[in-house]
């Protein structure tokens, strides 16, 4: 057993999983409240990544930033979260709210339209080139924890820690605050919540703000840890985030967290071991096969996901 490799894959999987979990949380929150698959969610992540790139470039670039590195990262996170939060609110207001009473296929198509609109807007504004955060210049990759087989770059630690902090913050918000209670009530029964005096529209807007802010933060974390961003990156992260949400149980917050980490670790370990397990028949290129196979298996065997509850309909 190659423990060095296992530990390293664990770290890689946790990093990827943290990002997927943040995306899955947004998917789950919005689905929980509106029963809508926000297919543009991955593209909100992409916009967040570009906001971060704008901030890092504006503050002198990675090679010579005009502020301390920690402050730069905080500013990038804040900028992307606020920017994407408002973007989410705008998407809800103009693309989904007018279709709230339409058949369920209509907002789904609208979501696809928003996705293409965001991709092409960023293409128009920033061009098609891959943009680099140049994080490797900002913080050298050798700075971090190096203990036995364990090598963790400090930026990975920042990414995993911030993702967990945000997940914990969201958990507290949903379980301990008035807004969280209103969100849970709206998700349970929108009409009954309205009759109880909850301003459902406001709750929906706030849910979109929070979900999109988390996607924006995920965009920054991707840019920081992997260096490069592009205008179509949202598709892949959106798809994997959605898979994570389904595996965890769409609509469930702990489910989204678990699903994200599960998919991240599955991806990392399949890259690491798929060749050995299939005796060379399949290579690392097939890691996505494993991820989406998990999705298919869950859709067939346990469609409600690990933390979800089966939907019971009164007849």
């Amino acid at each position: 057993m190659d423990w060095d490799k296992i530990v390293q894959l664990l770290v890689n999987g946790m990093t990827l999983g943290s990002v997927y979990a943040l995306v899955a949380l947004g998917f789950s929150m919005i689905y929980g409240i509106l029963k809508l698959l926000n297919l543009a969610h991955g593209d909100v992540l992409m916009v967040g990544a570009f906001i971060g790139w704008g901030i890092i470039s504006w503050l002198g670039g990675a090679q010579d930033p005009s502020v301390a590195v920690w402050l730069l990262i905080v500013l990038m996170l804040l900028g992307a979260m606020v920017g994407c939060g408002f973007l989410g609110v705008a998407i809800e207001r103009f693309a989904y709210r007018p279709l709230r009473r339409a058949p369920r296929i209509a907002p789904l198509i609208s979501a696809l339209g928003v996705s293409f609109f965001l991709q092409n807007s960023v293409l128009l504004l920033f061009g098609a080139d891959y943009r680099s955060y140049e994080t490797f210049d900002l913080v050298d990759v050798e700075v971090g924890i190096s203990w036995g087989p364990l090598n963790i770059w400090i930026i990975r630690i920042v990414v995993i820690a911030s993702a967990f902090a945000m997940m914990a913050g969201l958990w507290l918000l949903v379980t301990r605050t008035k807004l969280g209670k209103a969100m849970r009530a709206t998700a349970f029964d929108r009409e009954a919540a309205a009759m109880m005096g909850i301003d459902v529209d406001r709750v929906i807007v706030k849910t979109f703000f929070i979900g999109s802010a988390l996607a924006g933060a995920a965009g920054i974390l991707v840019g920081l840890v992997f260096g490069s961003i592009n205008h179509f990156m949202g598709f892949s992260y959106g798809l994997k985030g959605f898979t994570a949400a389904v595996v965890g149980g769409i609509g469930s917050i702990p489910g989204a967290m678990f699903g994200g980490l599960f998919i991240g670790l599955s991806e990392a370990f399949s890259v690491g071991y798929i060749e050995d397990l299939t005796r060379g028949r399949l290579g690392s290129a097939f890691s996505d096969l494993v991820v989406f196979l998990i999705l298919i298996v869950f859709m067939i065997v346990r469609p409600q996901g690990i933390f979800g509850k089966p939907e019971v309909k009164k007849v």
Binding site: G127, E142, G272, S284
Partner: protein, 382 residues
Amino acid sequence: MSKGLIAASLGLLAAAVLVTSALARSEAAATPAQIAACTNVSLGFVGPLTGPVAFLGQEQISWLRFGVQKYNKANKTRFKVAGGDTQLKAPVARTVARRFVADRKIMAIIGPSESQAVRVGGNLYEKAGLAAISGSATATDLTKGRPYTTFFRVVPNDAIQGPQVVAFVAGNLGAKNVVVIDSQDDYSIPLASGISRGLRARNVTVSRESVSVDDTDFSSIVANVGNNVNVVVFATQNATSANTLSNQLREQGKKAIVFGTDGAYSPAQFKPRNGYVSVFAPDLHFDRKARALIREYNRYSKNRTFGSFGPATYMAGLAAMNAIARACADGTATRSEVTRLVRSTNIPSIFGGTLRFSKKGDPLPTKFVLYKITNGTYSPVG
């Protein structure tokens, strides 16, 4: 339904079929030997202007436009450039090829930039008698056996790159254990396979890995790279990916260095602490004789960072314009005439010597250039 309505519908259908077939026939008949008025001629650029390797296409079209402007000024011609974006996708490249074949003003294709775009468009250009001169398509099979008789390239092919990389990695670097990574496309898979075969033939232990062209995280691939691996050869068209890979190797404490193939050549994007890269044409920045040309280009373009992709495409443009100008000596020209004259190209090259084509359409004589990268700074090897 009334009989009249059925008859009318059938009549309309028949008319539509007749019109469509007539249009198709007129397009087919018009394409093989179009006669162009030499006062309104365009070069059709076919390359990835958007998508994951947009930097490559943008650099190429910028140098092509620069070359056209310079040529027009010197020769009082009025060549224009029409851009065709392949997005690095073969089906899109075929659509672009159809569009350019049908455009009467286009007398030569500059590109396609990518080998897969040649494979899907090469026969269309051939049927139309349209010369396609690529500044970067290096796959060996594009000229082996001459599958596309109107295809030419100004850069050497992978049959030269592969053995050169093998000789350098096994010989000069003395590597005993190598990982070869492809990026799951028509360019990198044959190249990576050829390099792997060559290295194994020299008793080097080789492991193969594969990543998607859109991937930005290679940390789990890096976990598969053993501590005894000396070199990771990365056949990629994406220089930022090569940069991320080299940094993630260092992050995980791996001693292996990255050797990037020609797609990774970008001093602005691929900046490892230690590494190598091969490229099909010398970087003009290292050539004193090219300083005036670089200054002129920098005045022309806002994008001052360039590698070898742009200048090679500049040469492809010059070859095309030279052939069209010769064909136009009597005031008119056909595409076939231009193609015939491209074959006999013999013009001074900005890389030194002259540009000539072999019977297969490859440049004569030529080889890949290797660069060593130390702390992000490039220097020619040998």
